[in-house]
Amino acid sequence: MKNIRIIPRLDIKGPNVVKPVQTEALRVVGNPQKMVQQYYKDGADELIYLDIVASLYRRNIDFNLLKSVTKNIFIPITVGGGIRSTHDINNVLRSGADKIAINTYAVKHPEFLSEIVREFGSQCIVLYVEAKKQPDGNYEVYTDGGRERSGLEVINWIKKAIDLGVGEILLTSVDQDGTRRGFDIELLKKISAFSPIPIIAHGGAGKPESLREAIMNAKIDALSISSIFHYNEYSIKKIKKYLNENKINIRTL
């Protein structure tokens, strides 16, 4: 069985880690430097770092903050928020990131995806998708941190982005985010049914059983987790121990 990655996700606003509930209602959680050190020590396989307001205010990520966070972290870091040019990507890669996540700008300018894939390679480009279920049962792509509707249907958009060369998908369920009610298995299954590239599931991680379900049932490749780690409800070690005991291929320290 392939190796499943456990990836703490930090939503950044100003100098703080915040936690949105259903991508709104932000709460300040803590200091990113300290939290990241802890996650690294506990055996996180990667980190996701998203500036959740950069795109909305058309700002750049705070590169100095990013550098201070990544300084002593020797695991891969995916960084997103407000990326609009190859120049932005170079700056992020020079501040400790290894991959970039992109949503809003790609939705508005899909051709930008092929441009950056050609420059940085597929393996560097993560498509960030914020999916929200609609009354008709379909999922719609949202942008700007779950605030704006795009009019795009999730499956079509992801297929298109894969054709344009993105290397991974970070798939967030806007409805489940911050609720700890478990992942949106229906959404994950719809995408894993056709995706030839890895899927990182986000939104709804709660009890360890819910993580196992997403891996076994929805066949995803990685789990992105925030609330239950941020609020010390479960440690990374404990989660990994549980998954390991359930015959899931997990890296343990």
Binding site: Y40, K67, K71, I75, Q123, G167, P196, P198, D221, R251
Partner: protein, 218 residues
Amino acid sequence: MKDKLKIAIVDYGVGNLYSLIRAFEFFGVKTIVTEDEKELKGADAIILPGVGSFEAGMRGLEIRGLIETIKKMAKSGKPILGICLGAQLMLSEGHEFGLFKGLDIIKGKVVHFPILDNNEKIPHVGWNTIFPKKENDWDNSILRTFDKEDRLYFVHSYILEPESKENVFALTEYGGQTFCSVIKKENIYGCQFHPEKSGEVGLKLIKNFINLIKNGKN
């Protein structure tokens, strides 16, 4: 250490440079990030980092006029460490977005993963192990501290295919496919994984590489 080590990280426009600088600093070793030919020539060792496509990487080296410099350094016996794209560029040619010439320091090519068992995902992303071929001797190499359980971080769609088996120094298995994860020729190493992003296990490799440079200087 007799005198200060001069380790140059080649800045050719692509790459996660900060992570690499920090990995060396972790062992108290300062590196120089440079695109200057003279600085490279004066270095005790060079690192070829890499996040990018093969084409972008070679173009980056070419416009800075560094191709011949690096090839000469490779012939001089100085230690070189290529990481991910940096390792791929050491081979003769790459097949990403067309056919492109590489540095040709080690004969071989860089090709896309074939279709994998169970339609395993490409890119290969995650933590995987490396193991030696029967005839490989890791004892006197930068891999000497590796355990078969040790996992390293991979993120790639293309694989190293050296022409001669002699240059295959470690193997990795993914989706039923065994591929070359480390290439080697004397003091030149290229690894497909990211040692600077593989936690304590990866840092050990950086440390071993620093020692290799030091021993070469003594």
